[in-house]
């Protein structure tokens, strides 16, 4: 059953001057457990699509439903709440809170969800083990490598038990070894826990791992292949 339904989605920038159709009438559906990559050249609309999928941006027209709930009709505050409980984010630049340790970064999301302290501690411990860095719990991001920071970001994205995770160029700032390790972790989580991952990427290694590759060009879907 589809957990995400995108219908005729369009995003136009500079509508009154020189309109730019960043996303132009895209329709897609995603099911639980997908490991999908959205690929395309720079400026093709991948990140714009991902932002709208995550409720970070409003479409000009069209709709996005997640578990039958239309998210583009929600108010700003409702969307923030929706993201907190339903969507995990992994960013290209990691975007960890620099003044918190790895463990605190993971627990932060759960604290926003008002999860009790004991549960938060237990889950953050499990997640750090799942991403392979349990010994880095009390280290701040500044003292971690890029790959380790991104692993903390993955753990943070999983902390809220989201319906799906959106990863925008997660491997762009990593070396090849770190990329391999990270992709293995995400693939394992996808396989074992049926967590849905949707990537926006240029990285061929991500495309290779993905079981569905959606190619976008000039804001439109050019191809949608399942392996």
């Amino acid at each position: 059953m589809s957990i995400i339904k995108i219908e005729d989605l369009t995003k136009v920038y500079n509508a009154t001057q020189v309109p730019v159709h960043a996303v132009n009438g895209i329709s897609l559906e995603f099911e639980q457990g997908e490991f999908a990559a959205i690929v395309g050249p720079s400026g093709s609309g991948k990140t714009t699509l991902l932002n709208m999928l995550g409720g970070l941006d409003d479409p000009t027209s069209g709709s996005i439903s997640i578990d039958s709930q239309s998210i583009n009709k929600l108010s700003a505050n409702e969307r923030i709440k929706f993201r907190l409980h339903n969507i995990g984010f992994i960013f290209q630049a990691y975007n960890l809170i620099p003044v918190l340790t790895a463990k605190e970064n993971i627990e932060f999301i759960m604290e926003l969800q008002k999860v009790p302290k004991a549960q938060r501690e237990q889950r953050s411990k499990e997640l750090l083990e799942a991403v392979g860095i349990p010994d880095k719990a009390h280290i701040r991001p500044r003292q971690l490598s890029g790959g380790q920071q991104q692993r903390v970001a993955v753990a943070r994205a999983l902390a809220s038990k989201p319906k799906f995770i959106l990863a925008d160029e997660p491997t762009a700032n990593l070396d090849s070894k770190s990329t391999e390790v990270l992709l293995d972790i995400m693939e394992k989580l996808n396989r074992e826990e049926n967590i849905t991952f949707i990537f926006s990427t240029h990285d061929a290694r991500v495309v290779k791992k993905a079981r569905r590759v959606i190619t976008i060009e000039d804001g439109q879907v050019k191809s949608d292949e399942r392996k």
Binding site: G54, L56, I80, F91, N95
Partner: protein, 405 residues
């Protein structure tokens, strides 16, 4: 967690934060100290004014102040004194004659106010006996003794044991006079007072003026506790409805204005300092928010609502204010405590100050309500200074903010 994030965020750029903290520290230290200085100074003037000049409460015939007629007096003053002494909270009563006169020495003459009182009673209501710098306060009780101020002595070019002549009107309106020997010279911090008032024994003045022995122009009352003052004023008013009963605030309203001015000044100065420092905090917090646009966008993206982001920014500002402001307040208290030991010597400007009744050595003082109010103002400054930066942070579009390099 938001508290933790806010506190740690302050120390992300320790140099910048320390500059703001030091500015708050210095501002509050001197803000508080100048308040304690002014409060102490005004309070000293007030205490000196009450204890040396007016006492707490005075009773007069209702027309006494509007006339020079000495026959406008309080009758049965001795009996009234005994009654007033029995009131709870009263620890001193003195009934006096109070007459305008001329005093003359061999060199010169001048107008003064003569107070004729029982010296022992007078000691209960004013502390002039402790201000004697030469001679004594009517110890010998010799007839025709007079105690004058040092400023008046200098003006008349007289000294202890000198003879001076008092000229005044008696009860029949005739000019009369008498020679008095200076047996005591006092010096207060108010040189105008020293120049204007002299004391003689009541029976000496009574014989000169031929006023009844149990009459008095003024009854001065000293209370144990200023907080009981109004209660006693009300009691006296109801006991003696034919007399005018006034507190020191009515007798000498300028003394009351002093404390009001002092209070207003202390808060006014602190508010001005905080206003100036507040702009510094606004500047710092704006830099903090604009530097962290991407981080704020990320926080919104992962589910931190705008209320929490607002709270986080406001908390950072409050914490900066508290660290700097409260340490400055503590420093100000410490400085006040230290300077309370010997006081601050303003003798360089002594002559000008004493003309107005101000002590040349100031003992700063503070009270808990003052400190608490200033601490609250520091927190309010932190809150207000954060509003605009927080507003800038909340206006962010998360998708754009995350893209900020």
């Amino acid at each position: 967690m938001i508290l933790k994030i806010a506190w740690r965020n302050i120390w992300r750029n320790p140099t910048r934060s320390l500059v703001v903290i030091m500015a708050m520290f210095v501002g509050m230290l001197f803000g508080l100290f100048s308040s304690t200085f002014m409060t102490g100074w005004m309070q000293q003037r007030l205490n000196d004014g009450i204890e040396t000049e007016t006492s707490h409460i005075q009773l007069h015939h209702p027309q006494f102040k509007n006339t020079d007629d000495q026959n406008i007096y309080i009758s049965q003053a001795l009996e009234k004194r005994e009654q007033i002494l029995l009131l709870p909270g009263v620890n001193g009563v003195s009934e006096r004659f109070k007459i305008q006169a001329m005093v003359a020495s061999a060199e010169t003459s001048t107008g003064i106010m003569v107070l004729g009182a029982n010296p022992q009673q007078e000691k209960q209501v004013i502390n002039l006996s402790e201000k004697i710098v030469a001679g004594d306060w009517f110890e010998s009780q010799r007839r025709h003794s007079i105690v004058i101020g040092q400023k008046l002595a200098e003006k008349l070019k007289v000294r202890l044991r000198s003879k001076i002549v008092l000229r005044l009107q008696d009860a029949d309106g005739n000019i009369t006079g008498g020679a008095f020997r200076i047996t005591g010279i006092f010096k207060t911090i108010n040189t105008s007072f020293d120049e204007a008032y002299v004391w003689v024994q009541k029976n000496d003045l009574q014989k000169l003026t031929l006023l009844p022995a149990d009459a008095a122009h003024e009854i001065a009352v000293h209370v144990e506790n200023q907080e009981m003052q109004m209660q006693i004023v009300n009691k006296l008013t109801s006991l003696y409805p034919d007399l005018l009963t006034e507190s020191w605030q009515d007798v000498s309203p300028e003394l009351g204005y002093l404390t009001e001015v002092g209070n207003t000044y202390q808060y006014f100065l602190v508010i001005i300092i905080l206003l100036a420092l507040g702009f510094g905090i606004v500047n710092t917090m704006l830099m903090v928010v604009l530097e962290r646009l991407r981080e704020l966008g990320m926080l919104m993206a992962v589910g931190m609502n705008k209320r929490r982001i607002f709270t986080m920014i406001v908390l950072e500002s409050i914490m900066l204010s508290i660290v700097g402001g409260f340490s400055g307040i503590l420093g100000g208290i410490g400085l006040t405590e230290y300077l309370q030991i010997d006081g601050i010597d303003l003798s360089l400007w002594g002559e000008g100050l004493t003309e107005w009744g101000f002590a040349p050595i100031v003992f700063p003082m503070y009270d808990i309500p003052m400190v608490v109010t200033i601490a609250a103002l520091v927190i309010i400054t932190g809150i207000i200074a954060s509003l605009y930066p927080a507003y800038k942070g909340l206006k962010l579009n998360p998708s754009e903010a995350i893209r900020v390099i």
